[in-house]
């Protein structure tokens, strides 16, 4: 059943009166002129006090009575058959309580770092020592750890009985006449753009602590983005009832897409704990984390593109491939937001004997964005066109159109030098790039809201906070509804004992939960208004919550305190739940995001130094302003790190990853920071009763493209390969 309500949605300069159809049980959405006391403000993170005092317990910190440490032995070979596994010497080490083999004799390992066996012991040190005493005999087989080697004629099969290359023979997509369009275009570019394998590199590695509470019941602390996913998969693996598996993630140290299940280490911990009759902690060390815990695939993109003097994007022909290691998962989103008139895309996935890829923050997007943005700027340069005008001509997304204007003003786009016009040693340039993301949501997500007799309030969700500030969003919405402050609301999350929340992926968490919080609060307010109305001698429909009081909206002087109203409910506490309905229509249904970069390039050393990055993004209703700005800047930093520093290096001869540590795999540090200016577009978007949407992924998408375009502007030459290291810059200058 549905009802029609009137609301205002839009952005500054484009506000519309609209009528929307919402579910009968839903509350009216906050419109453009909604006066909100808490939502949209700046708040301290609930739970932040535990983090800054070192009292927050991450999975890595969980120490249980009698707990053992698990350690995994991993294959040193990129491809091998296992002939013998002997655990006896490991088991003989004093303090070892369990040991298992992960691969059967006769089985194969397919990448250096794959799990082969494991032990559990009384200390971390003993477990590591014992793991080294596990004896394994391998028949080493030929491997291929680069795309090139895996694609050669006669390349060794990466996996038994599977072709190394899939796809790429026929186009996925074909529209119009690409060849004809290229011939008749005013400018064309034909080039190969490449991006590297990127490691998630969260500061807390993957891991779990598993405790068997009985033969049929388990508690698992997990550093995860998906408490429900870990529960479901552990229950399935160990043949337990889901009701008998509890997963706890009170705090976790980053995921970025890699932590969406228990992983091999999770089931290994469960097996060891069962054998030992004691809880077992398995946390990957940094080398394991950088080798065997996921990555963003690379890409080699052969592009032929065309543009006309009038800025029409005439043709886009891409033939691309890349590797997701042994697990696949490769894909591109080329050509991103741009509607080229004639398009042909061909994509091939290549298996290699390397760790499997995992979804990484906006999978396929940063890699696609880099290539298409740079190609468009190369075309614009050939035609003497302003890249900003090219974007504006080819993009009718209402929010991005505003973002181009705002961003250009802030970066000072009118001061952008003509491409290739500089001659000094250090040359400055500006570039921009755009992004899109879907407004995805996990419908059916539920939350509980609890009012206690003393007026204290709690929001409960099984979902986790991976650093994005989920707690703040939940608290802010409840505080808004109840006329309280964020600090008055306790947020309990990350426990599958609470109602089911979404996995934190696709930028869905906040927007799946916040509207459900409003509904739970609404149900509680209905009860509170009944008892408060009786107390005040008015009708319940006249009442409202504000400033810690319950009072008639038209006469706030007659009031009782929130605390008193909760006491009138009777009983120790009252709990109501709210559920996330489907999205309805909105002002936009696609997330935007535009970034402008200003860089300096030292033409003697080849070093690129970003000076300023203006990142203009939208997230619908801004609920947690600090969190939103933090998220945008955080995405920019990961994006610039991807653009300039990071790369997994595989040794072709040994098949090993040569840089599984923070010395050789460089992520951006404090000395690498430009001035970063996050700008959020104020908007009321509709689509749900809060009107917010996700912001976790968009800010990482356009950064590399914007920087690459800025470099082209600065030195007049494209650097078409990520990371844009000094050697590549110098090579481009000499070309």
């Amino acid at each position: 059943m549905s009802k029609k309500v009137k609301t205002k949605w839009g952005i500054e300069g484009d506000v519309k009166d609209v009528e929307v159809s919402i579910a009968d049980d839903d509350v009216e959405p906050w419109g453009y002129d909604a006066k909100l006391a808490v939502v949209g403000g700046r708040h301290r993170r609930p739970g932040g006090d535990l983090i800054v005092t070192g009292r927050a317990k991450y999975t890595f910190d969980v120490n249980l009575p009698g707990m053992l440490w698990g350690k995994i032995l991993r294959s040193p070979h990129a491809h091998a058959a296992v002939r013998r596994i002997d655990l006896s010497k490991a088991k003989a080490v004093a303090g070892v309580k369990a040991a298992l083999a992960r691969v059967q004799v006769g089985g194969h390992v397919h990448y250096a770092g794959q799990e082969v066996a494991a032990v559990a012991a009384e200390s971390e040190e003993i477990a590591a020592e014992a793991a080294r005493k596990i004896e394994v005999d391998y028949d080493v087989l030929p491997h291929a750890v680069t795309c090139e080697d895996a694609m050669k004629d006669g390349a060794p099969k990466v996996l038994e009985n599977v072709e190394n290359v899939s796809g790429g023979r026929r186009p996925e997509r074909e529209r119009g006449d690409v060849e004809g369009a290229l011939k008749s275009s005013d400018a064309t570019v034909e080039a190969t753009y490449s991006t590297q394998v990127q490691m998630h590199s969260a500061m807390e590695s993957h891991g779990v602590v598993v405790r068997w509470d009985s033969d049929a019941q388990m508690t698992c602390w997990a550093s995860t983005q998906g408490t429900d996913a870990v529960r479901g998969q552990l229950a399935q693996y160990f043949k337990l009832k889901r009701s008998n598996v509890r997963v706890i993630t009170e705090f976790m140290g980053g995921g970025f897409g890699a932590k969406l299940g228990p992983g091999p280490f999770g089931v290994i911990a469960g097996e060891l704990a069962r054998e030992a009759g004691a809880p077992v902690k398995v946390m990957l060390d940094r080398a394991e984390e950088q080798t065997a815990a996921g990555s963003r695939p690379n890409s080699i993109q052969k592009v032929r593109a065309g543009m006309n003097k009038d800025m029409t994007l005439t043709a886009w022909d891409i033939d691309a491939h890349g590797t997701g290691g042994v697990g696949g998962g490769w894909g591109l989103r080329s050509p991103m937001i741009y509607n080229f008139k004639n398009v042909r895309t061909k994509f091939a996935q290549v298996l290699t004997n390397a760790g499997s890829s995992c979804a990484m923050r906006a999978p396929g997007h940063p890699e696609s964005s880099f290539a298409v943005e740079l190609a468009i700027d190369e075309l614009a340069a050939k035609l003497g066109l302003d890249p900003l005008e090219v974007r504006r001509k080819n993009d009718d997304h209402p929010v991005r159109r505003r973002e181009y204007v705002v961003g250009a003003e802030k970066i000072g786009w009118k001061n952008r030098p003509r491409t290739g016009s500089q001659t000094g040693r250090v040359r400055r340039g500006m570039g921009l790039a755009s992004s899109r993301w879907g407004q995805m949501v996990s419908t059916g997500a539920e939350v509980n809201v609890v009012c206690y007799a003393d007026g204290s309030v709690e929001v409960q969700s099984g979902a986790q906070d991976i650093g994005t500030g989920t707690r703040t969003v939940l608290a802010a919405v409840a505080a808004e509804e109840f006329g309280l402050k964020v600090a008055d609301v306790k947020v309990s999350i990350g426990d599958t004992n609470f109602p089911s929340g979404p996995a934190s992926g696709g930028s869905v968490t906040a927007n799946s939960l916040a509207p459900a919080v409003r509904l739970a609060c609404d149900a509680l307010k209905k009860e509170i208004f009944v008892v408060a109305a009786e107390e005040l001698g008015v009708k319940p429909a006249e009442l409202a919550c504000a400033d810690g009081k319950v009072a008639p909206a038209k006469d706030p002087t007659r009031s009782i305190t929130w605390k008193r109203a909760c006491g009138l409910l009777g009983g120790e506490k009252m709990t109501r739940s709210g559920k996330r309905f489907e999205n309805y229509k909105g002002y936009t249904e696609e997330i935007g995001g535009v970034q402008f970069a200003e860089v300096e390039v030292d033409t003697e050393t080849g070093v690129i130094r970003p000076r300023r990055i203006v990142a203009v993004h939208d997230c619908g209703r801004i609920v947690n302003r600090n969190g939103a700005e933090n998220q945008v800047a955080g995405g920019v930093i990961m994006g610039l790190s991807y653009a300039l520093f990071e790369e997994r290096r595989m040794d072709r001869a040994t098949g090993a990853m040569v840089n599984p540590d923070f010395l050789g795999y460089k992520i951006a540090g404090p000395l690498d920071m430009p001035a970063i200016e996050p700008v959020l577009i104020e908007m009321a978007n509709g689509r749900n009763n809060v009107g917010l949407y996700g912001l976790g992924e968009p800010p990482v998408i356009p950064t590399a493209g914007a920087i690459a375009c800025a470099v082209l502007n600065a030195i007049g030459r494209p650097v078409r390969s990520l990371p844009m290291t000094p050697d590549k810059v110098l090579e481009a200058l000499e070309s």
Partner: protein
Amino acid sequence: MGKPRKEVSRRAFLKGAGAAGAGAALLGAGIAPPKGPPVLKKKNAVSFELNGKKVGVEVEPRVTLMNALRNHLDTTGPKNACDRGTCGACTVILDGKPILSCLMLAVDADGAKITTIEGLAEPGKLHPIQEAFLDADALQCGFCTSGMIVGCKSLLDANKTPKVDDVKAALAGHLCRCGTYPRIFDACLKAAERMK
């Protein structure tokens, strides 16, 4: 060929490893190495002052200070993010100087005065640096935060009026994957202001 290398017996090497190895690291940090007999026992009684309290553990020589704190004393504020001195997450203050606790053996901390993130605040109150981090929202997942705050504390102990470049240099060895560096710099400068 030249003179043969002086033979070092394994026992002699192990005798000197604890004190000498950690000593070199400490000298690099400008701290005098601890005195006392070299340790050889499987379990060694180590005691030090931790956040104002005298504590003791019994550890093998190979246990790092980081793991003595985290695994033996349930002091999990300092984090294990790399275990080889490349990220700063395990930073503690030892005898007045910031050190990477993963690069120090517990046996070499005998007699030291150690402050971890847990020891910064007085009971019931937050340290101004902690307040500033919360006000500036200078964290996301929080795993790097202990190290960052301890790093800031060390800076402000030595320099009460830092500029942003001083903050960047002091924190240069601290990694944050969520990308909160600029907010951390702001928080540190804010704290310095408040602590004047």
